[in-house]
């Protein structure tokens, strides 16, 4: 029975010392220790968060760089493409222009030829006229000699002065 009978002395000392123990430990040990542990946990957590953030930012940066690079490439391609198109256009234009010019020149040449031809024909006509007149003069002068001979002569002349 002695075992389960709490002794007043021990209860007294237990109350006194335990209260002091709780008080001192709480004030000078548990609160600072818990605060420090919490602070350290927060520091670690913050560091980890920051690391994650930095890693994320890094990846963002890399992605951005890649994007920029891709953009630059695309732009370059665009420029090249545009340049090619422009060149193509210029080439086509030049060709068209050259063709047009050539055609114009040909036309001009044709017209020149035509003019020349007409002038030549006029000249030929004039020459033929003059020749005809000369022939006629000569015929007339011959007619005065013989009729038969005249016809023959005219034919002969005509043959001689066959146009073209």
């Amino acid at each position: 029975m002695e075992l389960v009978k709490p002794a007043i002395g021990l209860i007294f000392w237990m109350l006194v010392t335990f209260s002091i123990l709780v008080f001192i430990l709480t004030k000078f040990a548990w609160k600072p220790i818990l605060a420090m542990i919490k602070e350290r946990e927060q520091t670690i957590e913050n560091s980890l968060n920051e690391a994650t953030k930095a890693r994320y930012e890094m990846s963002q940066l890399v992605a951005k760089n890649e994007e920029l690079l891709n953009q630059a490439k695309e732009e370059r391609n665009q420029i090249l493409h545009n340049a090619k198109e422009a060149a193509e256009k210029v080439k086509a234009d030049i060709l068209v222009k050259a063709q047009k010019e050539a055609e114009e020149k040909i036309q001009m040449a044709f017209r020149e030829i035509e003019i020349q031809k007409k002038a030549a024909i006029v000249e030929v006509k004039n020459s033929v006229g003059i020749m005809a007149l000369e022939i006629a003069e000569k015929v007339i002068r011959k007619e005065l000699k013989s009729n038969n001979e005249q016809v023959e002569y005219v034919n002969k002349l005509a043959k001689e002065s066959n146009l073209n």
Partner: protein
């Protein structure tokens, strides 16, 4: 080992402490042997008495020997009587052999280690004895003071280490206690109490480490240990009562409402339920008290029983005693290991249940 002036100082202190203790016991021992060495009688070995003596409190710190030849550290006896405070060394009782004359004539009863007052005729004065309030520094009180001193030293130095190297990995004693502190905070207080857990963590930590330290101290059979403080009902009672007081003070309206009028229960049932709930309020700390007391005391009883077996068989024949001693030691080692587990387990259980009671008291109405 690195000898700095500080460690030297510590060693000197320790040596001085041991020397003081030794001088007490040696003087007591010397007196004993000088007085009655030859009146020794053959006594039958009483296992029950031995065990009860070991697990109960004592006015002196018994180390070895028995009866008048015992080597023990005398502890101060402090009595509050009708004539005021009375204080003397328990060594004056000479292990209960002699009476002490002070304001009264005191005698130490052998059967229960109580101090009683004798009247003129030499018989126990029941009236005066009933008036004694014995607040002596007994073996358990000395152990309590020792453990409080150790805990203060340990945790104040740990706190100093924390302040010295903030945000550093723990080292030394710090790395041993930190997991326990975090365990109590995160696995005991936080889930059991809830959002307002922080206010209770210091108390829970103190209880946990005090019980754990004393459980472990109880496993050591010689000097700093040997007492059965955490298996003493007064010790567990004070802790349980403090837990009860904290629970009661922090009880919310919801908590009391649940005790006196459980919501959703018909009125006639409440007549039965409410007394049970009220009983439960007191039963919880009571169970807390009994659990720790019974567990620790049982451990001590078992270990002592194994040792007592050696002497019981030894009385039959020396050979039987030797034979049994091998088995006893093996079993005691096994029990010691089991007790080591129990020491941690019981400290944890007491803390966890305290936290759960706080949690139930703080619970706000939401089901």
């Amino acid at each position: 080992m690195n000898y700095t002036p500080k460690t030297y100082f510590k060693h000197i202190l320790t040596a001085a402490f041991i020397a003081v203790l030794a001088s007490f016991s040696v003087s007591a021992f010397a007196e004993e042997t000088a007085e009655k060495a030859e009146t020794k009688t053959e006594k039958k070995f009483d296992a029950g008495k031995l065990i009860i003596e070991h697990i109960s409190d004592n006015h002196e710190w018994h180390i070895l020997g028995e009866g008048e030849n015992a080597v023990a550290i005398p502890l101060p006896v402090i009595l509050y009587t009708a004539k005021g405070f009375d204080c003397f060394s328990s060594g004056k009782f000479h292990h209960g052999e002699e009476t002490v004359e002070s304001k009264y004539k005191y005698k130490l009863l052998e059967e229960n280690n109580h101090v009683v007052i004798l009247n003129e005729a030499g018989a126990v004065d029941e009236v005066a004895t009933a008036g004694i309030i014995d607040i002596s520094i007994t073996k358990n009180v000395a152990t309590l003071l020792f453990s409080v001193f150790c805990l203060l030293w340990a945790f104040l130095s740990v706190a100093a280490t924390y302040k010295k190297n903030p945000n550093q990995a723990p080292k030394g004693l710090q790395s041993f206690v930190e997991p326990l502190i975090i365990f109590i905070r995160d696995e005991v207080a936080k889930p059991s109490i809830g959002a307002k857990y922080e206010k209770f963590v210091p108390y829970l930590l103190t209880v946990f480490f005090l019980i754990l330290f004393n459980n472990l101290l109880g496993l050591i059979p010689i000097l700093p240990g040997g007492a059965n403080l955490s298996g003493n009902i007064a010790f567990t009672m004070v802790l349980a009562v403090i837990t009860f007081v904290i629970t009661t003070i922090n009880g919310t309206k919801h908590y009391w409402h649940h005790i006196f009028a459980m919501p959703g229960v018909p009125k006639p049932v409440l007549i039965i339920l409410t007394p049970i709930e009220i009983l439960g309020v007191f039963l919880k700390p009571f169970v807390l008290m009994i659990r720790l007391f019974a567990n620790m005391t049982a451990g001590h009883i078992i270990a002592l029983s194994f040792f007592a077996m050696i002497f019981i068989f030894g009385e039959m024949s020396t050979g039987a005693g030797l034979g049994v001693s091998v088995v006893s030691v093996a079993f005691t080692v096994f029990m010691g290991l089991l007790e080591l587990l129990v020491a941690f387990l019981q400290a944890y259980v007491f803390t966890l249940l305290s936290a759960m009671y706080f949690g139930s008291a703080l619970e706000e109405g939401h089901h």
